[in-house]
């Protein structure tokens, strides 16, 4: 974030996600990108009489895919951070853009944790905290599964004590 003037700025959330996330993101990106590039190559081979520059486009696509698979997980690992205090949940995510989300725990309605098949291989889990707003769900992607369990337990304990209908 850029800091201008003397007003307080938002600091980054305290904790990084699990380093295993890099592997997980790499594999997921690899699966998607390989399919995409294969599709493009097949289409290029099958369609007869395609001009030469189409082949160049396919090559470019392949290069972009490689860059995506190599760079995206590392950038994302640097960006993704999270923090849960007694009063609020604070996360940052993104790799090209940035999204910072803050929600007061007093307004949290549900706490879900989710572990996909691929995530299980890497020992990861994601947590989603929802509020009464459709615009407000906060997801902490790719926490270490053990940490995720602790955080869910803690959040559930805190939210159980608030009695508001959270709107």
């Amino acid at each position: 974030m850029s800091h201008v003037g003397g007003t307080p700025v938002l600091r980054e959330p305290a904790y990084q996600v699990s380093p295993q996330a890099i592997g997980f993101w790499t594999v997921s990106a690899l699966i998607g990108d390989v399919l995409l590039v294969l599709g493009a190559v097949l289409a290029w081979l099958v369609v007869p009489g395609a001009p030469g520059w189409v082949g160049l486009l396919v090559l470019l696509l392949a290069l972009v895919a490689v860059a995506h698979v190599v760079l995206m997980p590392r950038i994302r690992f640097r960006v993704h951070r999270w923090e849960v205090t007694d009063t609020a949940v604070h996360t940052r995510e993104g790799w090209i853009g940035r999204q910072t989300r803050i929600a007061p725990i007093s307004r949290v309605q549900t706490v879900d944790s989710r572990q996909g098949a691929l995530q299980r291989l890497f020992g990861l889990a994601s947590i989603t905290v929802t509020t009464a707003s459709a615009a407000g769900p906060i997801t902490v992607d790719c926490l270490d599964a053990e940490t995720a369990r602790h955080v869910v337990a803690r959040l559930t304990a805190i939210t159980a004590t608030t009695e508001d209908d959270a709107t």
């Binding site: 003397g6 938002l10 853009g97 803050i102 007061p104 509020t131 707003s133 615009a135 959270a166 709107t167």
Partner: protein
């Protein structure tokens, strides 16, 4: 209403018996097309089946129409409203009375002829409403008054609110006299001047034209021969004249449709404040009655649509939580001053709707332009691809590109002029809109989270989109292209304490 024999438990009431007239008519209306097709098909092949077909056709709608009345019961207990319905799958909907947030009455033309009202009870859950279709007018109004007054009073020792044997839900249960309703606005027929400038109905008109065009093939005058001779006849005149006539005709049609639509929708419009709720009634044929609990109103949205601004008109909606669609239009297109007056009355505070907004500065200005120019480039690329594939004159592409650029310049400048934000004591104010000017006012108490989002472009120049999340209205209020430090300061001031843990001095 007499509780049906065999109806379980105490105090269950049926819907109005006149529903027995309402539903078969509706059922026949829905079944008429397949039935007629079936009848035509059968009558052409064989007439022997008539004695079997006829009862089915007539009796089935009657039976199916009567089923809902036979199977639907409702009652008020001292803490809940309960509705049981269903033939095979029995469903029971219950809502705690203290969770009742809105009671809306609606009556179609058929309902009104029969003196019936459809009652919809909104509770905390967004899309779950308890519907009673239909009650006698007096019962419906008594039920509404009881539900709303109860919620407002919240007396702990309220007597059980059971519907009396004669069907009127115990009007004497609540001893407190109703506070006199305050009239916030009523229809003023000079507002009709705004009707032609409201383009929302244009969509309907386009639909109608489409329908007519479909039937056009079947019209006797429209076979190919008459068309050709008519065309020959037309071409004798100047094309300009034809275009003029078409334009004038279209304009006249639009005038009639828009004014008629306005009258039909807003006939007898009244907006009153009673029982701690805003209560809107209107409609010439179908009368609507919408209730929004004021405690659930978290803000308002004032919209000056593009054309209506030329004549000083505006529309006002409330942003509420816990109703089906959180954005409720509470005023017809009307003079801006009226909309602001009602808005301030709803907000209980003058200022947020009229105060100037903080501008977002030259970088946001540039961003607004580039955003629209990006759209123009997209349009031009599409036109270019179409030109490449379809091989028509390149002049068209040039024309499209120029038009898109011009439009982008206008839209970019306009969207920056509409951009802005303010924090007014208890309210967050956001200005937005590309061609229409939109001002969204949200109570800071209604903010349940923040999202600071930056695209790659915005990161280059230190801007961000600040979103206040809320349960009300569209569930988000967006302050676009604001400087990051301004965004953080704004969020910090709007919800004191929430960000404190995460702030550090610059």
């Amino acid at each position: 209403m007499i509780p049906a024999p065999g109806s379980p438990g105490e105090g269950w009431s049926r819907l109005s018996p006149r529903k027995l007239l309402l539903d078969p008519v509706k059922a026949i209306g829905q079944a008429i097309v397949p039935v007629v097709i079936a009848l035509v098909g059968i009558s052409q092949s064989d007439t022997r089946f008539w004695p079997f077909i006829f009862p089915v056709v007539v009796v089935a709608p009657l039976v199916f129409g009567a089923l809902p009345w036979l199977t639907t019961h409702y009652r008020l207990t001292d803490s809940q409203i309960q509705v049981r319905s269903g033939v095979l799958n029995k469903t029971t909907s219950t809502a705690p009375l203290d969770r009742v947030r809105s009671v809306d009455l609606e009556a179609s033309l058929l309902h009104r002829v029969l003196g019936l009202q459809k009652v919809q009870v909104g509770t905390g859950v967004d899309d779950d409403r308890i519907t009673l279709d239909a009650l006698a007018l007096a019962d419906a109004q008594a039920l509404r008054t009881t539900l709303l007054r109860r919620r407002e009073a919240e007396q702990p020792a309220a007597a059980p609110v059971l519907p009396a044997e004669d069907g009127a839900p115990a009007p004497a249960v609540v001893p407190t006299p109703p506070p006199s309703p305050t009239l916030l606005a009523r229809i003023d027929w000079s507002w009709l001047r705004f009707a032609p400038f409201s383009l929302a109905r244009l969509v309907l008109l386009a639909g109608a034209v489409g329908v007519v065009a479909q039937f056009g093939d079947d019209l006797p005058i429209w076979n190919e021969e008459t068309a050709t001779s008519a065309w020959a006849w037309i071409t004798q005149f100047a094309i300009a004249l034809v275009a003029l006539v078409l334009a004038v005709g279209g304009l006249a049609l639009w005038l009639v449709v828009s004014v008629a639509g306005y009258v039909v929708q807003w006939w007898g419009f009244r907006l009153v404040r009673e029982h701690g709720s805003l209560h809107l009634t209107s409609g010439l044929f179908t009368t609507r009655s919408i209730t929004v609990e004021e405690a659930k109103v978290r803000g308002v949205e004032l919209v000056d649509p593009l054309l209506m601004r030329l004549v000083g008109g505006a529309e006002l909606s409330t942003l509420a939580t816990g109703v089906e669609d959180g954005v409720t239009q509470v005023l017809p297109p009307c003079p801006r001053a009226v909309a602001i007056g009602v808005g301030e009355s709803v907000l209980d505070q003058p200022g947020p709707l009229t105060e100037p907004l903080v501008e977002h500065g030259p970088r946001a200005h540039r961003r607004a332009w580039f955003r629209q120019l990006g759209n123009a480039v997209d349009v031009t690329v599409v036109a270019g691809v179409a030109w490449w594939l379809l091989d028509f004159s390149g002049l068209w592409v040039l024309g499209v590109a120029l038009a898109a650029l011009l439009l982008a310049a206008v839209a970019g400048e306009a969207s920056y002029r509409h951009l802005g934000h303010a924090l007014h004591e208890r309210h967050l104010v956001a200005g937005s809109g590309t061609l229409a000017r939109v001002r969204t006012v949200l109570e800071t108490d209604g903010i349940i989270g923040w999202v600071v989002s930056q695209s790659w472009w915005q990161r280059r120049i230190g801007l961000a989109d600040l979103t206040a999340t809320t349960a009300a209205g569209a569930e988000r209020v967006l302050v676009r292209d604001v400087r990051v430090d301004v965004a953080v300061a704004l969020a910090d001031r709007a919800t004191p304490g929430l960000l404190t843990d995460f702030l550090e001095p610059a």
